[in-house]
């Protein structure tokens, strides 16, 4: 148990060091660089005994991770925005091959216009690739989710790659206190990697990546998607196991017990904000302020985004009258993706809640308390468009 104050990116580097991957293949891109620079320091000093491949592009990074994971070792990579877009083709392939590759995405806006600042467009646009997605709010959550993602991906009933997302600059470059558990405890939680999907081994030769004729493709895809659906229970189990073994050390740094969602003062809330990532910190402060003024308001933070935690969201929002979905991404010609997914979920439940979509903080635009207050006002009074942009 070591309490320390570090950048959230370094918290992730610490987590990776303790997870002991066999191969790390990464290409630098702002704002992910701090993570991989720290990791390469570890490797250079011998604190992490891994093969660090200095690849020539993100495409090379994810391909090398594919190859290494197929050979039966734990891998790690990390990227942002344009890098993630360059990996796009291979993301599908890694998931289709059921290889437990684990990645950190430091959320950054997509070009054009070029921007190095934070929004969620990059990872949200990869929601169909078949990767598990989780979003972190604090440095402690970054550390914890990185540990957990390996356990989830490597589970033999999941075998799907995963990405833990954190906001670039607003979280990655922010110093926060967090707690590092002892190595022994980490080893117990995450024992040595044992591959369950196929591996490349001359003693047991296998063919990976065959062609899928129309006669078989759909069934193979079905089994992959079924695994994604089933993973929701396994993610919950891992959350529970983690919460049991790793109690909270620093108050407010993470939920008491991890779950797909975190409800903040939503028990009797009439209006609920829904959001992901570090903006939730700001929203929590706003909620406290509004509560102080007597408003019945709460926050539903999504930790798991893929698979979409339908039950958790349904249960949280079932008695709520107004829902404001705050998002840092938008699908041009449609709405914010989280908004559309929650709408379709609640529609199916024949809910009568009023749901509104607020697009915030694109390209690193600062999201402040007064933004949240205005959002609350508009929601309460039913003012403004269905999809409102908070500039």
């Amino acid at each position: 148990m070591t309490k320390t104050v570090m950048e959230a990116s370094h918290a992730i580097s610490e987590a990776v060091k303790m997870i002991k991957p066999g191969v790390v293949a990464a290409y630098p891109i702002t704002p992910q660089t701090h993570i991989v620079e720290r990791i390469s320091d570890f490797v250079a000093d011998g604190d992490l005994k891994a093969e660090y491949i200095r690849v020539e592009s993100e495409f090379g990074a994810i391909s090398a991770c594919l190859g290494a994971s197929a050979t039966g070792v734990r891998v790690y990579t990390s990227t942002s925005a344009q890098g993630l877009a360059l990996m796009f083709e291979i993301l599908f392939i890694v998931s289709g091959m059921r290889l437990p590759v684990c990645m950190t995405v430091v959320n950054r806006a997509m070009s054009a216009p070029i921007s190095i600042w934070n929004d969620h467009q990059d990872s949200i646009s990869c929601r169909d690739t078949g990767w598990i997605q989780m979003y972190a709010e604090t440095a402690q959550e970054c550390y914890d989710l990185t540990l957990m993602q390996y356990k989830i991906s490597e589970n033999k009933n999941v075998l799907l790659p995963s990405m833990v997302c954190l906001d670039g600059f607003t979280l990655s470059h922010v110093y926060e206190p967090f707690d590092i558990p002892p190595q022994k405890q980490v080893d117990e939680f995450l024992p040595e990697y044992r591959p369950h999907s196929a591996i490349l081994d001359p003693d047991q030769p296998m063919t990976l990546g065959s062609i899928g004729f129309p006669s078989h493709y759909m069934e193979i895809r079905y089994s992959q998607i079924e695994a994604m659906e089933n993973s929701i229970d396994i993610i919950e189990k891992v959350f529970n196991e983690f919460s049991d073994n790793f109690p909270v050390q620093i108050e407010g740094s993470r939920p008491e017990r991890y779950y797909h969602t975190e409800g903040y003062r939503i028990d009797d809330a009439e209006t609920v904000f829904v959001a992901m990532g570090s903006v939730c910190g700001t929203i929590k402060v706003a909620v406290d302020k509004l509560r102080g003024e007597g408003e019945k308001v709460g926050l539903l933070k999504l930790i798991t985004y893929r698979p979409f935690p339908r039950e958790a969201i349904k249960n949280a929002l079932k008695d709520v009258k107004k829902v404001a979905v705050l998002e840092k991404a938008v699908s041009p010609g449609a709405n914010g993706p989280v908004f559309d997914e929650i709408s379709s979920l609640l529609y199916g439940e024949k809910s009568e809640a009023e749901i509104r979509n607020f697009i915030i903080g694109l390209g690193g635009r600062d999201v402040r308390l007064d933004h949240i207050e205005r959002i609350y006002e508009m929601t309460k009074e039913g003012k403004g468009k269905k999809q409102e942009w908070m500039f």
Binding site: I53, R54, G60, T71, L200, G209
Partner: protein
Amino acid sequence: MGLPEDEFFACGHRACAGCGAATAVRLITKAAGKNSILVESTGCIEVVSTPYPETSWKIPWIHGAFENPASIASGISAALKTKGLEDKVNVIALGGDGSTYDIGLQFISGAFERGHDFTYVCLSPETELILSDGSIVEIGELIDQHIEKSMLIEVIRSNSNKLSASSLISRLGDVESVSMTEKTLSWDGKSFSPMTTLRAQRKESPEELIKVTTSSGSVISLTPEHRVIVDSIVGFEWKEAKNLNPGDEVYAPRKIYIDVDNEPYIIDFLDEDINLILPEKTKEKIKSRLREKYGTIKNASIKIGFKYWQFKGGGRNITLSGLKKICQDGCAEWIELRDKIREFSVRGGNNIRFKSVRFDEDLMYLLGLIASDGYLDKRGSIVFINKESQLLSEFKERYSKLFCGRKLSKVDVGGTYYVHVNNPALYMVAKNLKIKSDPKEIIKLPEPLISAFLRGFFDGDGHCSILHHKHTNEARIILTTTHNVLAKRLRLMLQRLGIASFQDSRAHRSDIIVLSREDIQGFIDKVGSNHPKKIIEMKRVRNLFDKQNPRGKYFSLAPRVCGVILREICKKHNIPITRVDRKRDICTLAAGKRRATKRRIREYIDKLKEFVSDDPLFEELELLLKEDFYLDPIKKIERVHCKSKYVYDITVPETHVFVPEGAFVISNCYDNEAYMNTGIQRSGATPYGASTTTSPSGKLSIGKLEWKKDILHILAAHGSPYVASASIGYPIDAFRKIRKAIETKGPTFINILCPCPTGWRFSSEKTIEIAKLAVETGVAPLYEIINGKHSINRPRDIDKLKPVEEYLKLQGRYKHLFRPEKKEKDIDFIQSRIKENLKLLMEMAEKGF
């Protein structure tokens, strides 16, 4: 055909009939072997080989995407490294035209830039090399010296501890490599000769070595992957040491060649403190030069470091060490002097005068007698003991010839004669030549002198006898010693004379035995004897050889492939086998069920020549029947723990492979040219790139205005140690190159031309023909770039190039060049560009680039 038989790419795949790429994949997987992982790009092969739920692969195989096999391969090799398997598993990335030249070039570039560890095949340090001047050195010592010396030079040059890229010595991974100028015995597939070594390598030794003992007594310890030539029905094949079995026949040289330029002098074997008796004139000349330079002799003696009274005269004489120092100082010429000095004295005793300054037959014979039946006693005299009075007279006669005026004393004890010789100079020579323990310097002498020594030894401790068996008699010649190393040297001496023998070592005895008829005949002719009884025995053996056809097959068996060639000649010229060989033994020979001696094969050839005057196959047979090598069956294979820190290896130029200890032929680190057939699984390092050009974006599509991308030079510029172009029209060459690429440490690249009947539009049976034509017309020349230096394989003669039209007109994709009318201009442009490119390649190769 010399390729391994295991298939890793099963039938039933969906490739077009006549697909060139399928043939290439078979070759590649055979070269890589079972312990490989293949990374495929999207393309024909990937599609045809994995029709889910069936697969054609029998090795681990992964397909990622179109452009990234190189990156995936990087990840795999890194993972193997963490598992400690990087030396045991080959990783090969395969791509087509597009994935290699275009979309995938970025990833190949990255993978090549990163590079990886090296694999080497090596020998244990005590393995001896026979250098071209006859000296025998331990490979470990020699290379260590070179490395130390080179490091010193490098440090002085660069004034730092870092090694620059152009060092004499380079360190790659954990292998240190240094260039050497020594020459050592090597074999180019046709004959043995002393060749220049290129580079020597030293690397940390593995846990285990394989110790190979052959029937003739050669013992060599190799790393398990080191390859050795063994005889097989298809010619000779390379087998890894770890896969050798007792009974496998290795190729051993019957004769060792050295450059006898620097014949040693007697004075080279005298002790440094011996006194030299210089002729007066010579002495005066030296004295005057000393005075010229230093004023007085006393001064000279202080400055140079010899005892000045040595020149004073009056019975006192300059010592050998003193004279050498004077020569070093420049006041005398050693080369001149050693031709003049043959009189010596020791501690004020009488002067000893040799008949000549060099070794001669009498002296060698004497030394041979002393080596066998004599000894050097502690008080400084030589003792010779024998019962045979004739030998005694020989000894006395020779001795007086060599040292006229000196006496020897003789004592007769109950029929055994003891001869005492008080001759300190001769004593020194015998001692320093180590004639009783390790006379390796004798190997450097010319053949007649070696014969004389052996004759002496044989007369003392040798036997010539005939053993009577039921149906036949067998002759043998034996030299007996008690000393293992002495026996080894005697065997080497016999090898200098072109006589094969085998060493039979037991607890207290080491015998050298000559068994085969040719070798015994050789011994009788070249060595002979002066011992009356032994002369009679030799005569009897001669008579025996004249009378009967000895059955003995020792060391005279012909390589197995001779039978196959004989049969082929018969078939080719429609000669019924019974005309040549009534018993049809040729058929059983060709099937590998029987063996024949070289003599027997020659008999068949003579018979055949009555019917066939000329055929190139006869030439091939002649090579195989050459007496300068013999087949030596392996007696014992053991796994031994490697005790030393390093193992060593050397490289001789391109077409040669070297022969350690004159024992048998093993592979270089860098393998090469045609004759070499193949072996079995190989462990390599990572990563690799191998490319097949199958897709119809093609080599020369005249629709395009750009010439083909020069991928080989692009990747050579990345510093790849080995890139090569190959063609399935020359499968053995392609196989060899793939093997070499796998063996070479670092990222390597092979571009294999695979014609595609569907895409290039030609009839499916012409695939191989077109692949050959591509090379013969210069469209796809076969060449290698080895560590940045070009080596052109084919075509060799730019004037004998087939016209490119022959290649173009066979393919449908060029038909627009011929119909409706022939586009002479375009065809000429192609032809001239091809010639230009080829000329450039050849120039680069010639000039050493």
